[in-house]
């Protein structure tokens, strides 16, 4: 989700990412916003995202995260994988409904 958000919106700080995910999930996912940072660190360690200091829209010093080339590749792979699994599960559930 973080990768996709960064890919769609460009470089973003942690607060922006948390906000965006919260908006999109429409209260289905209620996570503590702090957990975003754990994911960000993990993604950074895998070199899927990179970060640099910048200034936020309300003039605060903030760390902006952006997707790297490796991250984009990973995103494509993960998306395909998710879609495949979701499609399979969808088919299985549809079968059960008919039966």
């Amino acid at each position: 989700m973080i990768l996709k958000t960064l890919q769609a919106l460009g470089p973003l700080h942690g607060f922006g990412i948390a906000r965006r995910i919260e908006q999109l999930s429409e209260d289905v996912l209620t996570l503590n916003e702090g957990t975003v940072y754990t994911s960000l660190l993990r993604l950074q360690q895998k070199s899927w995202i990179a970060s640099e200091w910048g200034v936020s829209e309300n003039n605060r010093r903030a760390r902006f995260y952006r997707v790297t080339k490796r991250g984009l590749k990973q995103l494509v792979g993960e998306t395909e994988n998710w879609e495949r699994i979701a499609a399979v599960i969808g088919r299985v559930l549809a079968l059960e409904a008919k039966a």
């Binding site: 700080h13 942690g14 607060f15 948390a18 503590n32 916003e33 702090g34 957990t35 940072y37 754990t38 660190l41 993990r42 360690q45 936020s56 309300n58 605060r60 010093r61 903030a62 760390r63």
Partner: protein
Amino acid sequence: VGQRRAESVFDEEVTTHLEMLAEEYVREGMSAQEAVRAARRQFGNTTLLKQRQRESRTTMFFGVRQLLKTPVFTIVCVLTLALGVGANTAVFSVMHAVLIKMLPVEDASHVFYVHTTDYPAGASQTGDSNTSFSYPVYRALREQAGLQEVMTFIPLSTSGKAPARVGTVPEEAAGDMVSGNYFRGLGVGTELGRGFVEKDEDDHTPVVVISANFWATHYARSRTCSERRSISSRFRSPSWALPRGDSKAPKESCRWTSGFPCRAGPSSMRGGIRQRMACI
């Protein structure tokens, strides 16, 4: 130092996040104090988060830090591994070349060096005494039943190389003078032309067989070239007999010459020029 810096960066990030979140709550109508509390609630346990971040970083850099802390141990480990791997590779390369890899000839398991023991002292004048034989001995051996394929070779010089010239450029090339049955005995065919035959040996024909490599570098693999070449200042026509493909050609030797024993003729025989023998 890195750990502390990372933690202070994370602290700053968290503080900014909490401030931004609180501001948003204030905009939504909360009081400042309430907003700060709500932001903290929404953000979650910062201590736990910090702990997780620290653990994550620690795991990542733990190994590296431990190695950097003890440089002597690290160097010893790296060198031991490097030498171990290197030595193993070297030993295997030698073993592969000596024990496993077969000669690129037809039936490598039936090729032997002919040795002799108790060679009379001083009787040998060239080459290794225990693998060198005089020409009459060689001829006599070949008369024996089942030993028709005993073949011989003599290096062109002590270094195995001789001056050679193709066209106008003089150079040095490795080669052997070999008996007429050399190629037939080894079962090595030729890409073009012919290998040596018995008649070459009997007539001392000045012909040369060049390796596929030499053919490519000096004749551009031309199939029609008839340029004469000079080896040891004697002109020889290339017989254009080349080993069939690189894999079959002994890589070390650039060419073989026949006309054998051109320099080891009857007069030289008395001088004691000897042939090394291989037997199939």
